[in-house]
Amino acid sequence: MTDATTTAPVDLSVRLVAPAGPVDLTGAVLTASGCAAAGRELDGYLDLAALGGVVTKTIMRDPRSGRPTPRMAETPSGMLNSIGLQGPGVESFLATDLPWLARRGARAVVSVAGEDVGEFVEVATAVRRATSGTDDLGSPGTDGGVLAAVEVNISCPNVANRGLVFACDPGTAADVVSAVRAATDPRVPVLAKLSPDVTDIVAIAASVLAAGADGLVMVNTLLGVAIDVDRGTPVLSRVTGGLSGPAIRPVAVRCIWQVHAAMRAGLLPTAPIVGVGGVRTGRDAAELVLAGAAAVQVGTVTFGDPSAPGRVQAELGRWVGDRGASSLSQLVGGAHDAVRTGGHA
């Protein structure tokens, strides 16, 4: 494994903007929520500190056991998962996992969720309390602070009540984002993670941006089902699961494309898009960037290739150089220019 992330020949920094000012990530590639635990398990396979950030597994207020097994089904170029947001609860996370990331020199994007708006606020408040003004965690939103951003998981499909997928409705999505934004340190950007399982993702994006989201993460998994035809039963214990992996990359590219196009057309306020969905090489990441992503998360592929996030960041850096650019930011949304000028023909 050659980890060339530190020798990338180009500028891969990404600027997020919180209400109190900008937050710069030193790298454009992050892990994806639910695909890196809280980072520690990947230490040794790649340099976590060289990434743009470690996006944690979604944190909720209380410990959660998650769902029965089987929780996983491999599918063509993808997988279904049905974990059910298993986790230790926010206090355990803040006491052990976040300080570990700080000691490791990594930047954390903390993914938060709740069963209702009140729980989202409780988790965000606990994160703010633990990261505001403590010496060992640094100042939030600064280079020395472990907390780079909060990602609001309004789109996990593995909840008992599909009505709880806040990201499927513009009103509930906005309610959650607005409450988390209000509960979060103004120096910390709040990113809203959206579901592709909606009729009009531009409308959801508009709603969460109006509610105060400082950026968008697109996309979460798509809902799927796999059936064991020998046994004649669904593979997953709770039937449905979230589809992820390279199989969904064109869906992610489409969602990023539509929202970035709407921003260009002035239909939405301009905000950074963090692309996620099936990326396993630098060229895959480049596809999301050309569609409009300012940064890219590497998720499911990490299960099969634990060094993937670092490798993808190095490959993305080489691609930027090969394109003759000095920084990744010059290439964000570039494929839209080609369409506008007829260069796609």
Binding site: M1, K57, P70, V301, P306
Partner: protein, 315 residues
């Protein structure tokens, strides 16, 4: 739980060349040159990528209990059964091919320093046991029960027999169809070895097992549950408690603790049950901590009393 875990070698991701490959019964035996993964203990496993991790349509690693690891030769060995397209790909590897390997992973067996060790393997679950028997200290006598559905599915009987005989122990073979060894299941022979029931026809010395017996088992979940129950019954009948360590087989996506798919309900030292990852908290678990009442042939449920269980039981 194992006490040596703190000193286990850190896992590494390596491109490993196949240096030997052979069919053995219905299985494929592969020897891989992987020096960074070769400082391992019996019970640990490796996770193998199917094809190239940047192009394969099968994204998830396949986990294989180590048949043997040799840090001097820099090799790890696995015995693979072709269950589906991914394991079939692994079985098709030839000498000179490269595979992407992560290891060593998980907990190993906590081998006793004295007394008697009984190894119980079902199918390719027996794969680690010749190595295990050769890894115990000079004060340990090792017996083995090697079982399978039929003769072709027995794994490494000759290697295990030689290794346990070197410790002064014996190997006992069972097959469900009677095509080799004693007709029956591994638990039939284990019950005899632990002093419950009549001595077996294969020459086992029923009831001679001393106090301080440790059982280490590897195989399908139903077999592990039966082994745990058999040992528990024998302990009650004879008044000589038997410690059982099981190496569990759960479907895994990653093998390194990030996907949360391979969880099992396991009781902790505080008496509370949690859904633990069999890849990092296992695969070797103390059998009396596993909530067998919630483990079935096709998955595990969440006990209603588990930490963080939804109100009213499983979600």
């Amino acid at each position: 739980m194992t006490t040596a875990a703190a000193t286990d070698a850190a896992p590494a991701q390596v491109r490993a060349r196949v240096v030997a490959a052979a069919d053995t019964g219905v299985y494929r035996h592969l020897v891989l040159a992987a020096p960074a993964a070769s400082r391992a203990r019996p019970g640990q496993f490796v996770a193998v990528a199917v094809g190239d991790p940047t192009t394969s349509s099968m994204l998830l690693r396949r986990a294989f209990s180590l048949h043997r690891a040799d840090p001097v030769a820099g090799t790890v060995e696995v015995v693979v059964a072709a269950h589906g397209a991914g394991t079939a790909w692994v079985c098709e590897r030839q000498v000179g091919d490269e595979v992407d390997v992560v290891g060593p992973l998980g907990t190993g067996f906590d081998l006793p320093a004295s007394g008697r060790l009984v190894l119980v393997g079902g199918g390719y679950g027996s794969a680690p046991f010749a190595w295990t028997a050769a890894s115990v200290g000079p004060g340990v006598v090792v017996d083995a029960v090697v079982g399978a559905g039929d003769e072709a599915r027995l794994c490494d009987v000759d290697g295990i027999r030689a290794a346990v005989q070197a410790t002064g122990g014996q190997a006992y073979v069972t097959t469900v169809d009677g095509s080799a060894g004693r007709q029956g299941r591994v638990t039939d022979a284990l019950a005899d070895l632990l002093g419950e029931g009549p001595p077996g026809p294969a020459g086992s010395e029923g009831g001679t097992v001393a106090t301080g017996t440790v059982v280490a088992a590897c195989g399908p979940m139903a077999m592990l549950a039966a082994v745990a129950a058999t040992a528990s019954r024998a302990g009650q009948t004879t008044g000589r408690p038997v410690g059982v360590q099981v190496a569990v087989e759960e479907a895994m996506a990653c093998g390194i603790g990030i996907c949360m798919t391979c969880v099992l309900p396991v009781r902790g030292t505080d008496g509370r049950t949690r859904m633990l990852r069999s890849c990092t908290d296992g695969p070797v678990l103390d059998a009396d901590r596993v909530r067998w009442d919630c483990v079935g042939a096709h998955g595990a449920s969440v006990p209603a009393d588990a930490v963080g269980a939804p109100e009213g039981g499983a979600a």
